[in-house]
Structure formats: structure tokens, C-alpha cells
């Protein structure tokens, strides 16, 4: 049986409130707060990017895994904000962790689901016994165009998972992927900000794929919503995960522990993986967890995990996700946020 042997989360300290963004654009903050269930989002500092956050999260995952980084045979970084268009993030991460040179690395991109893609690949290489341990990271410093609806949610964060076959903290019972060609969100080369299809990102995109993957994996595993203690859906805003959960027959109490978006924003490739780190932080032996990611373009990856007793030994070896989210926050005004996010151009 293969599964998770270590996990780690990273969330930058900086936050900006919905009101602060709405104030600048003359927008209606209460409608974003009520309509999208968003309150604030994380913001990376100027010296943080997908790679630095991936390093932070991965070091925490290695602590919980208790392994020698040189035993990691594969390193995958899923992101839509890799710092370089050409030059891998994975090599920097692997080097920083001390996993080089005998390691396979790749950078992945699939809008908000690149993180779970890496998890899928690393897990299956372990299952195939091609590698002993595999590291997968979902990390993003995503950007929404100034004034666009996405600016209220596009946030920064990273989650890292190490897969192996021994000393598991969660066993993988099933995986399932659901993919179609659905252009709901995109960014072409040389474009700074992504574009999206507005309401088209809802029913034919997020809901179709999340439901397709969730129903598919439950059918494959012969399980039903009530069999799970926790469920994590991709969290582009506060509303979608609850609505899709209700459509599938899950209860609010199953969703809430991994629902971080109202205070975190949408961390894109880190979104559902961070929901899972928050859930593992509180899970007990035997708990069944379903996670369903979503990436525009479009597709969903689903995993079913069963938590083992080892969770109690490792959860306090690194910071808990909720602590990263709730403590030590630094609120920015829009001016500093704009500087941090390089929305202000200085003279050469």
C-alpha cells in the first residue's frame, strides 16, 4: 500500500482584506463577502515566489516524513506561477532540499490543479516501485488583474506531500481523474494576467469536473458521501465548495475543516492540497478523506485517503495550517500590496 508519509504547508504572513481592494475600485465589498464568502487573502512578500514557498512547505513535509532527502527519487512542482518561463522550479527545490543529483524533477502546470497532478504522478511512481519516495508540491503566487473579480481571491501558498510505501500517515485507497477540453480560464504567453469566461467558469467548468471526479471515485471505491469524515474540494471562492458539496450530498461539517478560502483566498495549485494539510492536522486514525481538485482547462483529480495512527506522532513536528492562517498576520494596504505584487512600475 502506498500513501502519504509526510506533509507540509506554507502560507505567507501578509494579508489584504476584501474591503481594502474594493475601496480602490469603487466595488461593493459586502457583495464579494456575501456572494463569494471571501474576507481576506494571503499576499507574498517581494522576495517570495513559488519556489521559496515550495521549499518551506517541502522542508516541513520532510520533517514529518522523517526521511533523508537523498532518498527522494522524484520532485514535482505544480504551479501556474513558476518564476521562470524557461528554467525549472523543481531543480531549485530539489537542490535546496538536498535531494540532488539522483532525482527526477518536473514542473507541472494545469491552472489550479497542478499540485494534485504532481501528487498523482509521485504516488504512482511509488506504487510502481520506480522510486522509494516522491515529493509533490502545489504552490502559487497567483495574480488577478487589478479590479478583476479574481483580484479578490488570487492568493499565495504552498502544500507539499511525500509519498512512500513505509510508515504511512495516510493510505491511498483510490485515485480518479476527470478531464475535458473546456476553456474557462487561460493566460497566453506574454500576457501578465489571466482571462476567464465569467459565469462559464461555473456549471460547465468547476461543477461539471468536480462532480465528475467525485462521483467517479466514489463509484470506483463503492463509497458514498456519508462514508467520509472529511471532504476537500478546490476552493476558488468560498461558495463553490459548499455548493458542490451539497450537490453531491456532503454535509457542511465534512467540508469546513479543510475550507480555508475565506481567510486565505485561492492559492491555485496550493488550494485543495492546503485544504488537505489542514484536515490531516486534525484527523484521527481510520478517518476517511476525499480530496477533489479542479484546474481550469479543465480537469479534476480525486484521491481517497485513510488516516493511520502515525498521524498523531507527526502532526506537531511542523506548523499546523490553521496556525499559519490565523496567527502572526500582517495586514497590507492596497499601495503596499500593489508594490509587493509588482503592479507598480518603477523607473529603470
Amino acid at each position: 500500500m502506498a500513501g502519504i508519509i509526510g506533509y507540509g504547508a506554507y502560507i505567507p504572513r501578509n494579508r489584504i482584506k476584501v474591503e481594502e481592494i474594493a475601496k480602490v475600485w469603487g466595488a461593493d465589498a459586502p457583495s464579494y463577502k456575501k456572494g463569494l464568502m471571501l474576507e481576506e487573502k494571503s499576499v507574498p512578500s517581494p522576495d517570495q515566489d513559488t519556489i521559496t514557498m515550495a521549499v518551506e512547505a517541502s522542508k516541513r513535509a520532510i520533517k514529518r516524513a522523517g526521511i533523508d532527502p537523498r532518498e527522494i527519487g522524484a520532485v514535482y512542482v505544480g504551479s501556474e506561477s513558476h518564476p521562470y518561463a524557461v528554467k525549472p522550479s523543481g531543480t531549485v527545490l530539489a537542490e535546496a532540499l538536498g535531494a540532488t543529483p539522483e532525482v527526477h524533477t518536473a514542473d507541472l502546470e494545469f491552472a489550479c490543479k497542478a499540485g494534485t497532478e504532481g501528487m498523482f504522478i509521485a504516488l504512482n511512481l511509488v506504487r510502481a516501485e520506480a522510486i522509494k519516495y516522491g515529493l509533490a508540491v502545489g504552490a502559487d503566487t497567483s495574480q488577478g488583474a487589478p479590479g478583476d473579480a479574481l483580484e479578490y481571491s488570487a492568493a499565495a501558498g504552498a502544500a507539499a506531500y511525500i509519498f512512500g510505501k513505509d510508515h504511512l500517515l495516510a493510505e491511498t485507497l483510490e485515485t480518479f481523474s476527470f478531464t475535458t477540453d473546456t476553456p474557462d480560464f487561460w493566460r497566453r504567453e506574454y500576457q501578465y494576467y489571466p482571462q476567464h469566461g465569467g459565469r462559464f467558469t461555473g456549471d460547465p467548468a468547476y461543477f461539471k469536473h468536480v462532480i465528475g471526479a467525485a462521483e467517479g471515485i466514489m463509484a470506483k471505491a463503492k463509497m458514498k458521501p456519508s462514508d467520509f469524515h472529511y471532504v476537500i474540494f478546490h476552493q476558488p471562492n468560498g461558495k463553490f465548495p459548499f455548493r458542490v458539496g451539497e450537490m453531491l450530498g456532503f454535509k457542511k461539517a465534512q467540508i469546513e475543516p479543510g475550507w480555508l478560502v475565506s481567510k486565505l483566498g485561492n492559492t491555485y495549485s496550493g488550494s485543495s492540497p492546503l485544504g488537505l494539510t489542514a484536515t490531516l492536522d486534525i484527523a484521527k486514525e481510520g478517518d476517511m478523506i476525499l480530496i477533489v481538485s479542479y484546474g481550469s482547462g479543465a480537469g479534476s483529480d480525486a484521491f481517497i485517503f485513510r488516516v493511520t495512527s502515525r498521524i498523531d506522532e507527526v502532526r506537531n513536528l511542523a506548523p499546523r495550517t490553521r496556525d499559519l492562517l490565523d496567527n502572526n498576520k500582517n495586514y497590507l494596504d492596497y499601495g503596499v500590496y500593489a508594490k509587493f505584487r509588482r503592479k507598480i512600475r518603477k523607473a529603470e
Binding site: D28, G197, G198, R199, P204
Partner: protein
């Protein structure tokens, strides 16, 4: 001039029809109308569409649609008069049959609006305003109607709640229309707490962006009897223009083009407003319906807000307005709206409107307008 009858109607479900193209939604409705009429050919067709060029990059629409309907080489024309394109198509079809030029004419309306972003849709709709005197200064339709609303409230004491009641009434009606985009009820509180778009108008005061089509089949009334089905006569048609720019009007709290078109249509039909049993009107914004009820003479000037509050325009009121759900709940695919109004009235006069049926309705009136009233088309329909 020959008398003209509607012998068939067709309409499919409206909404965000992302899986369908303009041509397919048009053909679906047109085929339903042809089937309903029981005709084996059409002699000509007229299509109302406001802006297929901006919405889907397609012009030369009339030939394209006659091709996809399998009707080449019949003559086909597209007419455009902003949001009254559908009503104008019906009037052109009427003229063609009345004049004796054609016997069986298909009149369709269509708009595919959700294949572009909200900004692009707002721009396309904005082309119905005066580019030099309105659009260039940043005005969009919610802004223009908001100014009309403010003027009406200031002049006549129309209240924010009365505006909301128009939306509540039309959603109540729309909840009984399975083809409506938003077939559900809303409350006054929901309207008042919805997102502000252009003060005082909130999102639930505004008709939506919609994909949809509707079609009717016309023929000379003396030939309609041969089809052995209940048919509906178009006994009056009226059309009028006004300045496109709101700033050029004498009174922005009054819809002169609707007043003139309505008076002409009623005069042609030999009817008074009190003879009409139901109305389908152009409630693109809640204030529009209030002003239309005044312009048509259902109520005196300035009394439209009070009328909706008192239930005069409710489904069981003296003058039922927008039993279909109106543009607000049924949706507003701009070019299709005027034709869909005729579809609703025909269904009502044939007693086929289901739960929203107006009892013993014999005569109906449809009012369709473009922009802020720069154009208006009114038709009077009577059951045979």
C-alpha cells in the same frame, strides 16, 4: 391590405446556452413554429437580431439562417432596431403578408449573448445608445435607465420599493414559465439588498444577458382557417421613433415613442386600452415597465409605481402585465424579445399558457422598444 394571422409559434428554453450556437437555437424555435403552424413551406422569412456581429462575429444572418433552416432560396431579411429588432421583424412580416407580397412568412428573433465577456456584452448593448452624446461619455444602459428612474422618482414620488415590486411580480409570473431563464420567485427585500448597479437600480432591477430565440408563422387571415387550428389575428401595429440620446428629450420620465406606437396600434385595431386583457411589455429595467404602463395609458402619467404596488398589473389584476415573466425573469436575448412577446400572447389567447394563463383572455398587446425608447413597436392581437 389583407388581415394577418399568426398560425404557429415556437420557442425553446432561454438561458446561458453555452452548448448551442446562434444558428441552432434559431432553427429549434423556427422548426417548432413551422410544426405548430402545420405548413409545408414558407414563402419568406424576417429575422430580428440586434448585434450578431459584435456578439458572435457573424453578419449576413438572414441567408445563414434560411440555409440552416433548409429554406434556401426563399427571400430572407434581417431587421435591426436595437432591442426592438424582434418587434420590428414582426411588423415587417405583417406588412409583407398584409401587402400580398407573400402568403406564409416566418418571423424569427434571435440573440446569442453569452459567448462574450460581460464587458463585451455591455459594449455591444451600448451601441444602442448615442455613441457621440452618450456612450463616449461612459454611459451604459443601466446608467441611462437609472437617470430615468431618478427623474421619475423625483417628479412623481415613485419609490424604491415600487421599482422592486415590478421585479417581484415578474419573477412570480416567470416562476410559472418553464421556458424562462430565471423561473423562480424573489422578494422585495432580495431586490433591495442586491448589488447596486447604477443608483438607484440594483442587479435585480435589471433584465439579464440571455441566449434565446423565438419564432412565429404568419399568413393571411382568410387562409388561416384552412389550418383548422385556433389562430390569432394581428389587428393593430404601430411603430415610432424618438431621439436616441436621452439628453435630447423634453421629458426623460416619459416614453413618447411608446405612447405614439401604442396609440397607432390601438387606433388601427379600433380598440381602447381598456379593451385589452393582457400586456407583454419591455421591462428591460423595472423603471421601464412603470413608464410603459403610463405611456400606453394603462394608468395616468406618474401613477405606474402606485399601480404595481396596488396589484393593478399583477396576473390577477385589472391589467395583467408580463404574465410570461417579462424580460426580467424570462430573459432578454435582445433580438428575440419582441417575437417572444408575440409567442406569449398567442399562447395566452389560445388558452395554452398553463399555470400563468390569464382567464378568458381575448385581446393582447405587446410593446417592444429599443434603447431608452429611441424606437418602439406595439402590436395588438385578438383571438379569432
Amino acid at each position: 391590405m389583407r388581415d394577418v394571422a399568426i398560425i404557429g409559434v415556437g420557442m425553446t428554453k432561454w438561458g446561458e446556452l453555452w452548448e448551442k450556437s446562434l444558428r441552432s437555437i434559431f432553427v429549434e424555435s423556427a422548426l417548432l413554429a413551422i410544426e405548430d403552424a402545420g405548413v409545408d413551406r414558407i414563402d419568406s422569412m424576417v429575422v430580428g437580431c440586434m448585434s450578431s456581429g459584435l456578439f458572435i462575429g457573424q453578419e449576413h444572418l438572414s441567408s445563414l439562417l434560411s440555409d440552416y433552416l433548409g429554406q434556401n432560396p426563399v427571400p430572407a431579411s434581417r431587421v435591426e432596431s436595437a432591442c426592438s429588432s424582434g418587434g420590428l421583424a414582426l411588423r415587417q412580416g405583417f406588412i409583407e403578408v398584409a401587402s400580398g407580397m407573400s402568403d406564409i412568412v416566418l418571423v424569427g428573433g434571435v440573440e446569442k449573448m453569452t459567448d462574450v465577456t460581460g464587458c463585451e456584452a455591455t459594449f455591444a448593448l451600448g451601441t444602442a445608445a448615442d455613441q457621440e452624446y452618450e456612450s463616449y461619455h461612459g454611459l451604459t444602459f443601466p446608467g441611462l435607465y437609472a437617470m430615468m428612474a431618478v427623474a421619475h422618482m423625483h417628479k412623481y414620488g415613485t419609490t424604491r420599493e415600487q421599482l422592486a415590486m415590478v421585479a417581484v411580480k415578474n419573477h412570480d409570473n416567470g416562476s410559472k414559465n418553464p421556458l424562462a431563464q430565471f423561473p423562480f420567485k424573489i422578494t422585495v427585500e432580495a431586490v433591495l439588498s442586491s448589488v447596486l448597479v447604477a443608483d438607484p437600480l440594483r442587479i435585480l432591477d435589471c433584465s439579464p444577458i440571455t441566449d434565446g430565440a423565438a419564432a412565429v408563422v404568419l399568413c393571411p387571415a382568410d387562409k388561416a382557417k384552412a389550418f383548422k387550428k385556433p389562430f390569432v389575428r394581428i389587428t393593430g401595429t404601430g411603430q415610432a421613433t424618438d431621439t436616441i440620446a436621452l439628453s435630447s428629450r423634453n421629458d426623460i420620465a416619459w416614453l413618447e415613442s411608446t405612447h405614439i406606437a401604442g396609440s397607432k396600434a390601438l387606433a388601427m385595431a379600433g380598440r381602447k386600452i381598456g379593451d385589452i386583457d393582457l400586456f407583454e411589455v419591455h421591462d428591460c429595467f423595472t423603471i421601464a415597465e412603470i413608464m410603459i404602463t403610463e405611456a400606453l395609458g394603462l394608468v395616468p402619467k406618474g401613477q405606474g409605481g402606485k399601480a404595481v404596488a396596488e396589484g393593478l398589473t399583477a396576473r390577477n389584476g385589472k391589467f395583467p402585465v408580463n404574465a410570461s415573466g417579462g424580460l426580467k425573469a424570462k430573459g432578454h436575448p435582445v433580438g428575440a424579445t419582441g417575437v417572444a412577446q408575440a409567442v406569449e400572447i398567442v399562447k395566452q389567447l389560445r388558452g395554452e399558457a398553463g399555470e400563468r394563463q390569464i382567464k378568458s383572455a381575448k385581446r393582447g398587446l405587446a410593446q417592444n422598444m429599443g434603447g431608452t425608447g429611441g424606437s418602439a413597436v406595439v402590436h395588438v392581437f385578438e383571438a379569432e
